[in-house]
Symmetry: C2
Subunit: 268 residues, 2 copies
């Protein structure tokens, strides 16, 4: 960012907008009839709330920071092909299936990148009113509480976020790779929201998270927050993420555990 005053202004605004957006979503539970549509397939849902929230962010950002560009899941932002300058990467509702089915376990995810480097990450678990935040070099927080630096643990003590469906994705990963990992860890979970699972990695509630097909808006915020507490967010093979790629196979974990899983299970 140009200077620290500007960064503080960006963070203050972004936090306020994410809380306002969360209030709009909570309000919709009591008043609105949800309009649900499909994108590419019956599992890829989008609602009028996803669109409303993305447009809300775009309006606020354009008014306040007219030079910033916006990459949003629902496509109302800019046609972002590079990460030059300041780019907001937004998932208005991460975990739309949970939003529709459960009215919980979904989040607003906002990552702010400057010249390709993650500067701010915000993940707001709307129903639990939990705002996970990270600012590069300044630490990570759950609401106002600082998150602790992540420590290494043994693999047999690790709980990993991983959906059962990935075991069937034989074209994206060899079918011999994930089973030994599942058998070595203490347990697996799948909460159905990449943003929430990344926030759980950052706050030590789970120890790692694997997803074989994520888009920038799914992990842009989580990456900043996790790296602020010493965790690693890479491709499943341990390589640096190319942020604008879609269908990224992603692996996030505590330090130590990350290299152990990459070296002894994924690359083995």
């Amino acid at each position: 960012m140009d200077n620290i005053e500007k960064l503080e202004q960006i963070v203050t605004n972004a936090k306020q907008w994410i809380l306002d957006a969360g209030a709009q979503i909570r309000q919709s539970f009591t008043t609105n009839t949800l309009e649900i549509n499909f994108k590419e397939n019956p599992s890829d849902l989008v609602t009028d709330m996803d669109k409303q929230i993305e447009k809300f962010f775009i309006k606020k950002i354009n008014e306040t920071f007219p030079k910033h560009r916006i990459l949003g899941e629902e496509g109302f932002g800019d046609d972002v092909k590079s990460l030059e300058g300041t780019v907001w990467i937004i998932d208005p509702i991460d975990g739309t299936m949970n939003f529709v089915h459960m009215k919980r376990h979904f989040a607003i995810s906002v990552g702010i990148y400057h010249n390709g480097s993650g500067v701010v990450g915000l993940i707001y678990d709307v129903v639990n009113d939990e705002l996970f935040s990270g600012i590069k070099g300044k630490g990570a927080f759950l609401n106002e509480q600082p998150l602790k630096k992540l420590q290494a643990i043994e693999i047999k003590e690790a709980v990993i976020g991983m959906n059962a469906g990935w075991l069937l994705e034989k074209e994206r990963i060899h079918p011999s790779i994930l089973p030994p990992l599942i058998q070595s860890v203490r347990g697996t979970r799948s909460f159905g929201s990449a943003a929430i699972e990344l926030a759980y990695v950052a706050s030590g509630k789970i120890d790692g998270y694997i997803s074989l097909r994520l888009s920038p808006w799914d992990f842009a915020a989580g990456k900043v927050i996790i790296e602020e507490v010493g965790g690693h967010v890479t491709t499943i093979c341990g390589e640096q993420l190319v942020l604008l790629n879609k269908q990224t196979p992603l692996f996030a974990a505590r330090p130590g555990l990350h290299s152990e899983i990459v070296n002894n299970y994924i690359k083995n």
Copy 2:
């Protein structure tokens, strides 16, 4: 039960005790150092809180209903070999791994059976302060709110609770059975607590739940609650549960969806 006054007394007491127990657990987050031990393997955790809560229930039940017997996960209750008379089936903390790792996504589960028939089911999501309850013939509730009768849905709209690990349990289910189901449903989730996932089925947040190895205390309460809203809780093959069996392969789901999955996926 002998008469309705007695049943009301049982329900009133059971609800109060479960709320009291929940308060003890929440209190432990701020004051106690948790003592964690293993049962049969490093994934099978037990804490001093599991034991304390089970003992709390046993003391209360013995004082108030001295003729009732108690089957508890931690083994401090009676040596229950039949379901004659009134039997309380208790999991003091269902989802102990979540309790230890996440301090959320665990529940207290209390099922009360009379001569083998489920009469009362209580599942308390302690951190969310959500008490799911069912009383045979009198409906099911989330806190004071009645739960709606479950309606059939199409399989492509269904979200199913199922842990990734079950895809590797080749001795318990043929490896060709679960993959087509996973590919047909809208999504799978795994929250790591059978009681919570059964409560989610009862309240329509998820549409089905599969676990290949459950004990009576994991599902005794959930079965009563789900059946009160018209859902089905059976073995994975659609057969009646033998309540006292351990390692039960269980399938719970909405009406319609239950028979479709049993007939077209499991038995196919």
